[in-house]
């Protein structure tokens, strides 16, 4: 039975059971692979997407919870990379392997949508759920700050 989703402004029907995590529906049914798998238990943040503008973890949100909600993935944030967070990421050379960066960018974009000029502690707190094994944290912090203050 197909479940209707709105992903990046587009209505789509996903042929999967309601308990399927949004992550796997995006990746394996819709072939939208920008959203990454990292742990499957909500511990690493690699699968972060926006649901009605708030950052959520795609590996723990079930399709039935996402139905009828507005989902934004990295592919929909700004396909040309002109979102201030994306620009800040490029300007400061944040990524190393880049795999976690979709999750990092989506988390940072949600933070800045909610809070225009977060404190250092607020940045670190908001980003703490998203692991980077390459260890780009110093640049992630600086890039969130740069995105907040203008790129």
């Amino acid at each position: 039975m197909a479940i209707k989703l709105n992903v990046n402004g587009r209505d789509v029907a996903v042929d999967a059971t309601g308990d399927t995590p949004l992550l796997w529906a995006l990746r394996d049914v819709l072939n939208m692979t920008g959203t990454k798998y990292g742990c499957g238990i909500g511990a690493c943040g690699a699968c972060t997407v926006h649901m009605d503008g708030k950052a959520v973890l795609g590996c723990v949100v079930r399709l039935e919870e996402a139905a009828g909600r507005r989902i934004t993935t990295i592919e929909g944030l700004d396909p040309e990379g002109n979102h201030p967070v994306q620009k800040a990421w490029a300007q400061l050379g944040v990524p190393q392997c880049g795999y976690c960066q979709a999750g990092q960018i989506m988390r940072a974009a949600a933070l800045l949508a909610e809070k225009k000029n977060p404190t250092d502690a607020e940045i670190d707190e908001a980003m703490a759920g998203t692991i980077c094994r390459c260890g780009c944290y110093q640049r992630i912090h600086a890039a969130v700050r740069l995105a907040a203050t203008g790129v």
Binding site: A16, T17, T20, P21, W24, A25, R27, D28, V29, N31, T33, G34, T35, K36, Y37, G38, C39, G40, I41, A43, C44, A46, T73, I74, E75, L77, D78, P79, E80, G81, Q86, W89, A90, G93, P95, Q96, C97, G98, Y99, C100, Q101, A102, I105, I123, D124, E125, M127, A128, T130, I131, C132, R133, C134, G135, C136, Y137, Q138, R139, I140, H141
Partner: protein
């Protein structure tokens, strides 16, 4: 790191006609040290060019590296790596895998700068696994820039000269009258110009100049090399979610699979409930994957696969399999008991691996003897992208997409595993979502290949879940390092005995309970200290898990022990740590490995010792630089402290000074790290900084969190909730990377791995300075740091 001797072991199993790797002796792992072979001989083996002809004035004479001794060596032919389209687009092939170091950008950048290409008009394509064409592709051991910077420069210069020749011929003027500038060749007397695109066909039809006729640019003319002004080639794809990693390959009609693998090393599946798994919606098939008895190198460990329409369905189906396992001989493995066993071995004499002077006699006569023992547990790499591969195996052919560090090894292993001709196997290299050594092993691609074949050629994407990754890793070895130092009446350290006990990586390839030259050469026998009586021993221990290399490898436990111990000695002798460290390093000199009493040959990371000697002057230099930048000796507030460590690995010299603050509840925060790096010529300083910033975080993670422990042969950790990482709540707030400047004539050395080893001992030394508590076991138990 993939080490040429491992490849040599592989080659002896499946000989390849073109292999130039030194062969391993059948009985003991004798490592042929490339450094002791003459450059001419190595070049002769590689057969690419000859040094016998005289060099033209100003022509480039390459310095020797271990690159030529790697399997299938180096390729210096620009027609293999470069093409120029009529519109001027320059396409450069990246033949090394990109796992986060930036080499996919940096190596083509070197070539582009040398040829005069405008970076905005450069396209990069990724080579498939094809070493006969591209030369060695094994992206490991911090070797990409170190081994390939010269060939990239020479190829770029060759193309530049060919473009100039083509322009001169077109205009009918002497070649000395024309000059390549940025993407154009200019006639210096008339000012007329021709674009690279216009000249491309004529230029690329010319013979490639002999290396003795190639003249490199002066360094003052570099536009990208050494500048740090070229962003990652994949930056836009990464920030827009379009970058393709191994997990992201999609093909029509593809299926998704996960495998239940034996929880104990060497075990196998006895029975399982295929019907229950197939009852899960979306599950298509349940397939047994054959294992290879250990030591199995990079062959899959076997298990039971569930193939489904989505990864989620496959995971759900696997949950219903109820596999019963036959555990085999490692079912009693207990890592806590093993720690005690290693300590007991380290308390006794082991096999001598270095003997300089008379350490035993000097210890017996010493005014005092200081002894300490350090421990480091198993660790798993946990790259953010777990192992993944997609394979299509049908009609006698295999096409595979994999985030492979060593794609040609994957290709030859796939051929062997599937019974195919290597010519009928293609391995496409995707981006790697981290590697850290785990993705040097192609087992996951072989699993995907096996499943596609079993599914009649359907494309199968094989996913390792995070649980699989942590429970079935090629684990970083666990280690006990015991050091005893003898001090004379004047307080001078006159004797040093270091015993290392750790299950060996070699055990993944053949039965062995002793470490081999590669492991011994990572911070044990290459100890740089100026101590007259210095002995190193290696005690035997049998492995019970699958061991593999992890970023920095044995340098992690060695730096942990040696650099912690120096700080302990300084405290015992009431000396400043930095002052004692410099005294132990001794005067600036190049160590003579023969006089040092090293048993057998010093591995030296596979590179010639004459080019990359152990230079204590450079060790001293990074100590001085890091300390100066960090303000060593400054007054610190209560429960804060500075800690220092220095280590040479992958031919690079690194010192870190870490500042810590220890809260009353034992929580440790790191406001600042100053790392000084001497890696020879820094080709891309911006990415070098990134590597050392990241290494600080990985070093902090292993210092406080990383332990895979075993009970009943089973790993006790499974995911990031119990195998934790440093996060943005506790990362080092400021990592300053200070790169020692060098011209190109100081050979580039490794940067991917050498940043990790000094971090943990520098943290522990800082904690001691802050609290007076000495920690010798990793990971650090912060409960021990609570204020009494």
């Amino acid at each position: 790191m993939t080490l040429q001797s491992f490849v040599a072991l592989r080659e002896t199993r499946a000989p390849a006609a073109s292999a130039v790797a030194p062969a391993a002796a059948p009985a003991a792992p004798v490592i042929t040290n490339v450094s002791r072979r003459s450059f001419l001989e190595v070049l002769g083996l590689a057969g690419t060019f000859t040094l016998m002809a005289p060099f033209a004035a100003g022509a480039y004479e390459p310095y020797p590296t271990g690159g030529e001794g790697m399997p299938r060596g180096l390729v210096w032919d620009p027609k293999v790596f470069v093409s120029i389209a009529p519109d001027g687009t320059v396409t450069i092939t990246a033949h090394r895998s990109e796992m986060g170091t930036g080499s996919r950008t940096s190596l083509p950048m070197v070539l582009a700068d040398e040829m005069g290409a405008d970076w905005a008009r450069v396209k990069i394509i990724q080579a498939p696994g094809d070493e006969p064409t591209y030369g060695n592709q094994d992206t490991d051991g911090s070797r990409s820039m170190r081994h390939h910077i010269q060939s990239m420069r020479v190829m770029g210069a060759s193309v530049r000269q060919m473009l100039e020749q083509a322009a001169a011929a077109q205009w009918g003027v002497p070649v000395g009258q024309v000059e390549a500038r940025v993407h154009v060749v200019v006639d210096k007397s008339t000012g007329r110009q021709a674009g690279f695109g216009e000249l491309a066909k004529a230029a690329m039809d010319l013979p490639v100049p002999a290396i003795k006729d190639v003249v490199l640019k002066p360094e003052s003319a570099f536009r990208y090399i050494g500048k740090g002004n070229v962003p990652l080639y994949d930056m836009k794809a990464i920030v827009t979610g379009k970058a393709v990693y191994g997990s992201d390959v999609r093909r029509d009609g593809q299926l998704y699979a996960v495998i239940a693998r034996p929880p104990v090393y060497g075990g196998k599946a006895k029975s399982w409930d295929a019907a229950a798994a197939k009852a899960v919606p979306g599950v298509v098939e349940v397939i047994e994957v054959p294992g290879t008895p250990a030591p199995a190198a990079f062959m899959p460990m076997g298990g039971v696969a569930v193939v489904a329409r989505t990864t989620w369905a496959a995971i759900q189906g696997r949950g219903k399999l109820n596999v019963q396992w036959e555990d085999g001989p490692n079912a009693t493995y207990d890592s806590a008991a093993y720690h005690e066993e290693m300590s007991a071995v380290a308390a006794k004499p082991g096999k001598m691996v270095r003997n300089q002077g008379d350490a035993e006699g000097a210890l017996a006569k010493a005014a005092r003897v200081v002894t300490a023992e350090y421990y480091q547990p198993h660790m798993a790499h946990t790259s953010m992208e777990t192992p993944h591969a997609l394979a299509i195996v049908k009609d006698g052919r295999c096409e595979c997409w994999a985030p492979a560090q060593s794609p040609y090894a994957v290709r030859t292993d796939l051929a062997k595993f599937l019974g195919l001709d290597v010519a009928n196997v293609t391995v496409h290299v995707t981006l790697l979502g981290g590697g850290f050594g785990r993705k040097s092993k192609g087992d996951f691609a072989l699993e995907a290949g096996y499943l596609s074949k079993a599914m009649g050629g359907a494309p199968v994407q094989l996913t390792w879940t995070r649980e699989d990754d942590i429970r079935h890793s090629y684990y970083h070895t666990t280690s006990v390092e015991r050091i005893e130092a003898g001090v004379d009446e004047k307080g001078k350290v006159v004797a040093w005995r270091h015993r290392s006990v750790a299950p060996t990586i070699l055990s993944t390839f053949k039965e062995s309970d002793l470490q081999f030259a590669i492991e011994l050469g990572m911070g044990l026998v290459d100890n740089p200290f100026d101590i007259p009586n210095l002995r190193c021993e290696n005690g035997p221990i049998k492995n019970h898990v699958r061991i593999g290399w992890f970023r920095s490898v044995s340098n992690i436990p060695r730096a942990w022990a040696v650099q912690s111990f120096v700080a302990e000695l300084a405290h015992e002798l009431e000396r400043d740590h930095k002052e004692l460290l410099l005294e132990l390093l001794g005067p600036p000199r190049k160590i003579d490995p023969v006089a040092a009493g090293i048993d057998g040959e010093l591995w030296n990371y596979g590179d010639p010792y004459s080019v990359y000697p152990i230079d204590t002057g450079r060790l001293r230099g990074v100590v001085e630089l890091a300390c100066e930048k960090a303000g060593w000796g400054r007054k610190m507030a209560p429960r804060t402290g500075l800690g220092l460590a220095v280590h040479r690995s992958f031919l690079t010299y690194v010192a870190s000074v870490v500042e810590v603050a220890v809260a009353k509840d034992g929580t440790v925060t790191i406001p600042r790290i100053d790392t000084a790096v001497d890696c020879g010529f820094p080709a891309n300083p911006e990415r070098i900084r990134a590597q050392f910033e990241g290494a600080a975080v990985m070093g902090q993670t292993l210092c406080f969190h990383s332990a895979v422990t075993f009970k009943n042969g089973r790993a006790e950790q499974s995911n990031y909730h119990d195998y934790e990482m440093v996060r943005m709540t506790n990362y080092p707030r400021q990592v300053n990377v200070h790169i020692v400047p060098h011209p190109f004539s100081v050979p580039a050395s490794g940067v991917g791995e050498p940043g990790v080893p000094p971090i943990a001992p520098a943290i522990a030394n800082a904690i001691f300075a802050a609290t007076g508590k000495r920690i010798r076991d990793l990971p650090i138990d912060t409960d021990l740091l609570r204020e009494a």
